[in-house]
Assembly symmetry: C2
Amino acid sequence: MKRKQQKLKIRAGFQGEFGAFSQQAAEKFLGEEVEAVPFPSFTGVFDGLGSAEIHFAVIPMENTLHGSVHENYDNLLRYGCRIHAETTIRINHNLMAAPGVTLRKVRRVFSHPVALNQCLDFFRAHPELEKAPYYDTAGSARMVMAELPPDGAAIASARAAEIYGARILKKSIEDDRQNYTRFFLLGSDRAKEHLPPVNPKDCVWKTSVVFSVPNTPGSLFRCMSAFALRDLSLTKVESRPLRGKPFDYLFYLDFLGRVGETATDNALRHLAELADMMKVLGSYPRGDI
Amino acid sequence: MKRKQQKLKIRAGFQGEFGAFSQQAAEKFLGEEVEAVPFPSFTGVFDGLGSAEIHFAVIPMENTLHGSVHENYDNLLRYGCRIHAETTIRINHNLMAAPGVTLRKVRRVFSHPVALNQCLDFFRAHPELEKAPYYDTAGSARMVMAELPPDGAAIASARAAEIYGARILKKSIEDDRQNYTRFFLLGSDRAKEHLPPVNPKDCVWKTSVVFSVPNTPGSLFRCMSAFALRDLSLTKVESRPLRGKPFDYLFYLDFLGRVGETATDNALRHLAELADMMKVLGSYPRGDI
């Protein structure tokens, strides 16, 4: 496909190193031509969005094994950016090493402790292998290719193997195949300009809101009536205690509907009446499941 | 206080190394005389409970920054054990080293990457320090005391410093003070015998349930009516998509009430009518917040 030379290069920030699952999500959202920009921390990515250093941020929000990333919900509220899209990435772990290093030669396996811990069956089957904690999954692939330890391997994504030129020795060594992470594509209100236009009628829409309710029995139930009375389906409900305000709760809620549609707009107006605080985080096409 | 020699030593399993926050939780639940038994993985702890190697398991269920630990909810369902108590531990990170190693001498700081990442402000203020990922927070304290690197320090709990004899160089270096983890004390139905008896009237009780609902608009709302109609206050609601069954959800719900009380028993019978699957995980005194 021929592209115009002057076409703007879209920059998307992510936390981690090249080859991270967040980079895969960025490419799934914006195509392989996206310029993925690594940041060491989540707040770094959000700051980058605030200073317009990047057009979009690609942020993990929840994982099937480890739950919602509350700190990123906090960042979403604090930085006040908009959700433009969602997607889900299957997290799978691959054993990889420099060309010439075979599985028989490997003694140390580098990766993030969370990844090492998700491959315990593999380590049980290979008691000769030592788990060597490393700062980052993709970073461990980069390291074994830079330092070429003759007995070292890494556990990282297939994309990391590709980027750093590592050879995959064993695919999908994770214990649990049901390991998925949901990512949001975040940006300013205006960032939408950089996305291909979507006809609202061509897809199912989701809307995400955050709200807090007074601590009285049935208060959440009343808030949810705003959706039930309009036959809007909820796809996520999560309460979170507000620290410093014991017994007060913050709720995350996703439902099928789009800001601009009558039922959604009415439900949100109704919710605003009932909640102490309410904020719409965005309406976006439902991603793959 | 004098204790009888023949008194049974209560054994509580936890994931991690001695000095882990889970061990602190075990001591908070069962007193300092508890025998805390470390296991390398969560499933190891649950297996230990199944084989009666330990009387109780002390398991982290949610963290204010990182959300619910879904894999432990899965373990709770799979292993069919009972919640006997809950507690909350403030996660704070301390810089520690072997006696004689002062902050000026330190160049490498060992800890679990999650802990290192929660102390970014400290590392920004000390650019001379290298973050050295290690397998476990408490394990990093053990390692600096065993190997005595002259330029090495660890980030771990104050309890880990005490256990391994490390000297704290700087207290509470975490960026966010609002970092708390909620733990459950789990055991068989009979494990209750080993706990001091509680008069139900002396405390506020919580009950935890898991249930799934058919995917129709308003189905969760109907389930919640079982509680709202009886003025029972919810303290946690969390939905979780069921992988392999897209659009079907598992819900975790905590409410103030106790199995054996009329309103609670009626609400649970009503919920069982409305839900596809429903399981009571336990009734237990509300812990500190």
